[in-house]
């Protein structure tokens, strides 16, 4: 007992320290010590939130944490406790409805999760226990168990790979279900572990569970018969993640390190932070206004009630004596209860159903994005993906688009274009015959002017073949064995123009590498594959060369280079390094740089991605030193990354430059058109890229983000070095200069006017690089920080496009954050496809992932995922615009219809002695928002197209009409509120004057108060529904059905409700009231009159607004025929406009 408690205590302690120790197979490290198994959580996955027992309380608690639900609960409780005018049912029923629907939905989702959990937890697995194989349920796996996994099975928990049936101690894995990357990844066994797992005596020390899928640090101590324990480093390449699938490998054994909820997969399931849309903020603001209206109404009524009662005879007329209890109640308590009663009476002004309708609209509306067949890409066979439906309307409000360059603006489909060896340019011409001929000949490929020495050429090509992490894709599992033969046969048969290798292809994390390897292949050097640490390449002379791969110095975006250390057959140890010019040049001998630099810069301006290649020979001592350093760094548990980078930097010095490569990255389809449409829509496009400035700039020109007459304001390391003074001073100077140019000299900016009018002014483009940006954001003295930032922001805001190059992923997010928090808090959108864009996707208001080639991380973290950049245009201009208009109208309409619902009730208080007498029957109060008026607005908010999609797509300027939350600003809100007040007044007083003589029938009988309320209510229902009908510009059969249907339902319900003596009602208030009302001609006439009078101003407004309307409409066809989506800017340049309008005509 004590021991167990102690264990638990130790386990608890264990969790707090930085690392955990795992005993492989639960065998203690030394037999002398008593083995106390550390306590870890079991392998049960619990993704469900509730159990049968706690579902009700927990779910209710969660639901009532929402402010709105809580408000309605309070109202309900007040109704139950205090004697209030309306029965608790009126607010209880809608609340119950909402809560039940949500609970059922969440319960169902949770049931699905339970089912999935059950399947996962009960999945049978094989565990090695003391030499025997035991079948177990997956949930019973404990940390330290040795687990056997067969081909095509998923790993039941996070395992360290101990043994594989493959000869080279590797296994292949796909992580498709984790990050969507469907390529096979190679994982390695821990080197030098014993083949006999039963006698393996080892402990693993590794970090505490953390969610990063691509990081793992640990080390393994292997104990062998009283020897000094051997230590092996463990990295992500040894870790098999739960959820991944074993491929191309018969069987593996691994030891469980993280189980159950501590696996990386489970840790990654935790929800992302919720983004809230600007519309939601507007709703909350309006809600506050209505809450104020509500409270002030209640206050006014309470005050007037007591003023009125102070007159003699009014407080307690003889016909309405108070009960003894009422007389005894304290005056202030009475006042307070009265106040609460009024609150309850008017509480319908904030409708519970609005939240439901808004959420339904968002949820259902988002389907239209996934359903849109225009977003379907036949290449990847996928359409758009909606990860959150909360941000639909935000798509119509975007002011800044931050786009990644590679894979987003460009296709990330790399093609080797040319290379330069020792300053001589080699261009590859895409002609098969020529290629073959040249490949076979020994001469240099396509000699342009002169050629470099043959040795240098071959060294360069060898470098390309060796310095990468590319894998050769194994075609099928049967072919695995004879893969070599195949390659061999190819080697002999050199006439084959395209090897099977090229067709089956290479797999790499970055397409650049594949392009380079393929490029080298075209020049005659083929990479045959990596087998048990040996790289094989086929040279021009058809020799197979073998290199032992000693170390890979991985690529990372900070170093911007990667290296390999190989040992050739002759015993030379070589280091090959490739990377961005900026990171290579300082590390090579300077005299070599100049020859290459010129070529690199020329290539960059042409829009190619350039890489420089360097090498060095390592002497035995040098290698020994590097090897030791690398091993040591790899074994360290803390700060491994930093230590590794330090060693890398030490090794990668004093190299000599061989050459450079140029790889073309083609623009995405319709990239330029999309960018133009965005700019036409008044959206500012910023390109944030890790690429170098020249390349990025040329891409910008190609995308027409910069135009020929755009004046570029450059703030990069290059411009800063001109003056020879301190960089920061120079930067400040430049900032001021640009500020003067772009901000001060520019004509005064005023809202929307300049947006369309800016055509006459000069365009500016701004370029900044990562180094300078960090100087702007973190200057040496704190005081300048905000000043620089402001200057920078102001300049950027006045530029049409901004290019930020050489950005680290975090800097991208910093920029987005800076713009997001700037004045006016503009809505930002980030679009990217790679892991380096995740931070900015998460940071921006709307994050869009492109389903590109760099894995699925961006897609997983995005709010919306699209197959291509070109789809962004429709997503924003059509879907975004419509969603915004729909939801804005929905919100305004909801407030309006509840204001004119409650206002007559408020006014009635003045005629009933402030006694909280409700005007409408309880059934009407309850049903108004649930049944009578909810469906038409929901249908409207799903189907409305006030302007049809084609027109929206053709006229990007229409997007500006709704910019800056135009339909939910205080102006429109005031309009709707006034409309509600007008209607409310009209309904009440119209009927009031009719009732000055309540004898409304030809038999002389009189109508009572429920008739009064029913007439008002009928007018109300018809008016608000017809008002919506007037606003509907797009009548599908659904709209017809729902609008006329809900009016018919109202009539039917009223007849039904008043036609029967309901046994459960204490008072049959509405018995035959509705039918009697309809038998009165006067009631009919007043209903028609009031409906028409309420709607007339609306019709007039539409008509008088018209002169502008047809204008726009008449111009539309003209505009679209001139140029689909020209920005207003271009109208200033007729020539340019003509050229590209012609272009776009041909394209469209």
């Amino acid at each position: 007992m004590l021991r167990r408690r102690l264990n638990r205590l130790l386990g608890g302690d264990e969790r707090r320290v930085d690392s955990r120790t795992i005993y492989v197979g639960h065998r203690s490290s030394s037999p002398s010590e008593a083995f106390i198994p550390p306590k870890f959580c079991d392998n049960r996955i619990v993704s469900s939130k509730y159990t049968v027992w706690n579902f009700l309380p927990k779910n209710l608690f969660e639901q009532f944490r929402r402010i709105a639900n809580f408000y309605f609960l309070i109202i309900f409780l007040v109704q139950v406790i205090v004697d209030t005018p309306t029965s608790p049912v009126t607010s209880g029923l809608p609340l119950f409805f909402v809560i039940t629907v949500t609970a059922i939905k969440q319960g169902y989702e949770d049931w699905l999760r339970h089912k999935a959990d059950y399947e996962v937890n009960k999945y049978p697995v094989t565990v090695l226990e003391e030499g025997r194989k035991i079948r177990k349920e997956s949930e019973k796996i404990k940390v330290g168990d040795v687990v056997e996994v067969e081909e095509d099975e998923t790993f039941p928990c996070d395992l360290i790979l101990l043994q594989s049936t493959r000869d080279d101690d590797t296994c292949f894995v796909t992580t498709a279900s984790l990050d969507g990357e469907s390529n096979h990844k190679t994982h390695y066994t821990v080197p030098d572990t014993e083949k006999d797992l039963d006698s393996l005596n080892a402990t693993i020390e590794c970090e505490q569970p953390q969610p990063d899928l691509y990081k793992f640090v640990g080390r393994m101590h292997i104990y062998k018969n009283e020897q000094e324990p051997a230590v092996r480093s463990l990295g992500p390449e040894n870790l098999l993640l739960k959820g991944a699938t074993l491929k191309n490998t018969q069987k593996i054994y691994g030891v469980a390190v993280y189980t159950g909820m501590e696996t990386k997969m489970a840790l990654n399931y935790q929800g992302k932070s919720q983004k809230r849309s600007a519309v939601e903020k507007s709703i909350n603001a309006f809600l506050l206004v209505y809450l104020c209206i509500l409270v002030s109404k209640a206050l006014v009524c309470t005050t007037l009630k007591y003023v009125w009662q102070s007159k003699p005879g009014q407080d307690e007329p003889w016909y309405n004596e108070k009960t003894q209890r009422e007389k005894d109640t304290n005056l202030y308590l009475k006042m307070f209860t009265d106040f609460l009663s009024f609150m309850v009476l008017f509480n319908f002004i904030i409708p519970v159903s609005m939240y439901v309708t808004v959420e339904m609209q968002k949820f259902l509306g988002s389907f239209f994005i996934t359903w849109d067949k225009d977003f379907f890409d036949p290449e990847i066979k996928e359409g758009a993906l909606v990860n959150t439906s909360d941000l639909n309307e935000e798509l119509g409000q975007v002011e800044y688009v931050f786009t990644d360059k590679t894979g987003t603006l460009t296709q990330n489909n790399m093609e080797f274009i040319e290379c330069c060896i020792d300053g001589f340019q080699y261009k590859y011409r895409d002609a098969n015959s020529e290629l073959d001929g040249l490949c076979v000949t020994d001469g240099p490929v396509n000699k342009v002017q002169q050629k470099a020495g043959r040795e240098r050429e071959e060294l360069f090509l060898r470098a390309l073949c060796l310095c990468h992490t590319v894998q050769v894709k194994e075609p099928t599992e049967q072919n695995q064995r004879d893969g070599l033969d195949q390659v061999d046969s190819f080697g002999v048969d050199s006439e084959v123009p395209h090897s099977p290798q090229e067709q089956t292809g290479f797999i790499a994390s970055s397409p650049d590498e594949v392009a380079l390897v393929k490029g080298a292949m075209r020049y005659g050097f083929t990479f045959l594959g990596l087998e048990s640490k040996t790289m094989k390449i086929l040279t021009r002379s058809n020799d197979v060369e073998m290199y032992e791969l000693l170390h890979v110095l991985n690529f990372d975006p900070v170093r911007r280079r990667m290296s390999v250390i190989v040992r050739s057959k002759s015993g030379d140890t070589l280091l090959f390094c490739k990377g961005a010019d900026s990171s290579i040049f300082p590390r090579v001998r300077q005299e070599e740089v100049e020859r290459i630099r010129m070529n690199v810069e020329r290539n960059a301006t042409e829009g190619y991605r350039t890489l420089c290649v360097a090498y060095k020979y390592l002497s035995a001592e040098e290698y020994a030193q590097a090897d030791a350093g690398l091993r040591e760094a790899r074994l360290s548990l803390q700060d491994r990354e930093e230590k590794l980078i330090t060693v890398y930097n030490q090794v990668e010095t004093g190299m000599s430059l061989i050459g450079a490569t140029a790889v073309e990255d083609r623009l995405q389809e319709e990239a330029a058109e999309t960018m133009e449409a965005l700019q036409g829509a008044g959206i500012k496009v910023w390109v944030l890229t890790g690429d170098k400035m020249e390349t990025a700039k040329s891409t910008c020109y190609a995308c027409r983000l910069f135009q020929r007459n755009t004046e570029l304001l450059e703030l990069t390391v290059r411009t800063l070095e001109d003056g020879g003074r301190r960089r920061e001073e120079r930067m400040h100077e430049l900032l001021l200069e640009y500020h003067k140019k772009a901000v001060q000299d520019a004509p005064p900016v005023k809202g929307g006017v300049t947006r369309t009018w800016s055509s006459a002014t000069q365009d500016y483009g701004f370029i900044i690089d990562g180094a300078t940006l960090s100087m702007v954001l973190n200057p040496s003295s704190e005081s300048n920080s905000s000043r620089y930032k402001n200057l920078f922001l102001q300049i950027c805001q006045n530029c049409t496009s901004v290019l930020c190059c050489r950005m680290a992923p975090l800097q991208k997010a910093q920029i987005v954050k800076m713009v997001k928090n700037s004045k006016g808090s503009p809505i930002t959108l980030s679009i990217g496809d790679g892991a380096n864009d995740v931070s900015m996707i998460l940071e921006a208001h709307v994050g869009i992932g492109i389903k590109g080639k760099e894995g699925r991380q961006a897609v997983r973290n995005s709010d919306y995922a699209l197959p291509k950049l070109k789809h962004l245009k429709k997503l924003l201009l059509a879907h975004g615009h419509l969603y915004y208009v729909r939801i804005a109208h929905l919100v305004q309409y909801f407030f309006y219809k509840n204001l004119c619902f409650i206002l007559p009730q408020f006014l009635y208080q003045f005629f009933c002695g402030y006694s909280q007498q409700p005007l409408y029957d309880a059934a009407y109060l309850t049903m108004y928002n649930i049944c009578f008026t909810s469906m038409p607005i929901l249908a409207y908010s799903l189907l409305e197209q006030h302007i049809c999609m084609e027109v929206l797509l053709d006229n990007s300027t229409l997007y500006r009409d709704i910019a800056k939350n135009a339909m939910l600003r205080w102006g429109p809100f005031l309009y709707w509120t006034l409309l509600g007040v007008f209607h409310g007044l009209l309904f009440f007083f119209g009927v009031r004057y009719l009732f000055s003589n309540p004898a409304l029938q030809d038999n002389g009988q009189v109508f009572g108060n429920w008739s009064y309320g029913t007439i008002v209510f009928t007018v109300l229902v018809f008016t608000v529904t017809l008002k919506l009908a007037l606003d509907t510009r797009h009548w599908t059969w659904i709209n017809h059905f729902v609008i006329w249907g809900s009016l018919a339902f109202y009539m039917f319900f009223s007849f039904f409700w008043g036609g029967i003596i309901w046994p459960f009602l204490r008072q049959q208030r509405l018995y035959f009231v509705f039918a009697n009302m309809l038998s009165s001609v006067s009631a009919w006439l007043v209903i028609i009159l009031l409906i028409l009078l309420s709607l007339l101003p609306e019709i007039l407004l539409v008509v008088f607004r018209k002169p502008r309307g047809p204008h726009a409409r008449q111009k539309k066809p003209v505009q679209s025929s001139v140029g689909g989506n020209q920005s207003p800017r271009s109208s200033a340049r007729p020539l340019l406009m003509r050229t590209f309008s012609d272009e776009s005509n041909t394209i469209i």
Partner: protein, 334 residues
């Protein structure tokens, strides 16, 4: 083959609904529709308005306040004393005969039948004739549920208790001869109230149902003696009682008292009022109204005027629009 299927599975459905291309009617409110529409609506409204106005004007109304506040008022005497039965006579003459059925209303002002507490102060089950509720009236009837001796009050509640109890007799004065004008008290309440919503307990002798109950405090007679002459007008289905129980919407209201089927010919009349109902304590007024009705009900000029005003506004707006469009729109279209 498999690939194709997969493609089909992933490809979004190409239906009009999913692609947001449902066939739709896109109404445009153009001047060509709105102007004639306005003219038509305007003319129709003016027509209805004229009809309403003329009808309303043709309805004759005689209205007399008999509260007795003023010294010269015939009922002044009844206001001061605390006599339970005070009778006063209101003399008037009819100059132009009121034709058709004349409806005789009584009116009260500053009387809030729509007080919330007041309006729920009744027991519908009791009034539906359920004798179980005779013994224990609903709590909403408080303080008129039990009398001081803890006897249940039937019918309970403020509404029943405060039933209007002035009675009227109309005499046609011909010189010295006074002829009683016959009143018709049938069908002055809603048909459904009389036949369905209110029921007397189904007991042979109505009185027996009321054993161990007391009449409302304010009443002179118990419910089963409201109209002893006509058993179909007694108890809870007494027409006056039903009229009172249908509560007025506003504090100034009138309720139907009787019909005079033969109309009121020219002549002098005297209305004998049994003045019982106190109103001065809450500053109320009492009045009687003689009126005939038309298809639109009683006299109400508001409706006719409103129709006329809005009709002419429509016509006016259409003229304005016509001018606006003639100036700005039409040349552009050429």
């Amino acid at each position: 083959m498999v690939k194709e299927e997969q493609e089909l599975a992933n490809r979004p459905d190409n239906t009009a609904f999913t692609q947001q291309r449902l066939p739709a009617w896109q109404p445009m409110l153009s001047a060509g529709i709105v102007i004639p529409g306005f003219v038509l609506i305007g003319l129709a409204f003016i027509g209805i308005g004229v009809a309403l106005f003329v009808t309303s004007r043709s309805i004759q109304v005689l209205e007399f306040d008999y509260t007795g506040v003023e010294q010269n008022s015939p009922c002044f005497n009844c206001t001061g004393q605390k006599v339970s039965t005070c009778v006063c006579n209101l003399d008037f003459s009819v100059d132009s005969p009121i034709t058709g059925t004349v409806f005789f209303y009584y009116g009260l002002s500053n009387f809030f039948q729509n007080f919330r507490k007041y309006s729920v102060s009744k027991d519908d089950s009791q009034l539906y004739g359920d004798t179980d509720y005779f013994k224990s009236p609903s709590v909403t009837c408080s303080p008129y549920d039990y009398d001081s001796n803890k006897q249940p009050i039937v019918p309970c509640g403020s509404i029943a208790n405060s039933m209007f109890n002035d009675t009227f007799k109309l005499f046609n004065i011909n010189g010295t001869k006074a002829d009683l004008v016959p009143f018709d008290g049938k069908g002055i309440a809603w048909w459904t109230d009389y036949n369905i919503k209110y029921k007397n307990p189904s007991i042979e002798l109505l009185k027996n149902a009321f054993n161990n109950t007391v009449k409302p405090i304010f009443w002179f007679k118990p419910a089963y003696e409201l109209d002893t002459s006509d058993p179909d007008n007694n108890g809870f289905i007494n027409q006056d009682f039903l009229v009172w129980m249908r509560r007025a919407a506003l504090p100034n209201f009138r309720k139907l008292y009787r019909r005079i089927n033969k109309g009121l010919p020219r002549g002098n009349y005297s209305l004998e009022i049994a003045y019982n109902y106190p109103v001065l304590s809450f500053n109320g007024r009492k009045k009687v109204v003689f009126s005939n009705v038309s298809w639109m009900g009683g006299r109400n000029e508001f409706l006719g005027l409103a129709y006329l005003v809005i009709g002419s506004m429509c016509v006016f707006m259409s003229i304005v629009m016509l001018i606006v469009y003639a100036k700005f729109k039409f040349p552009e279209e050429d």
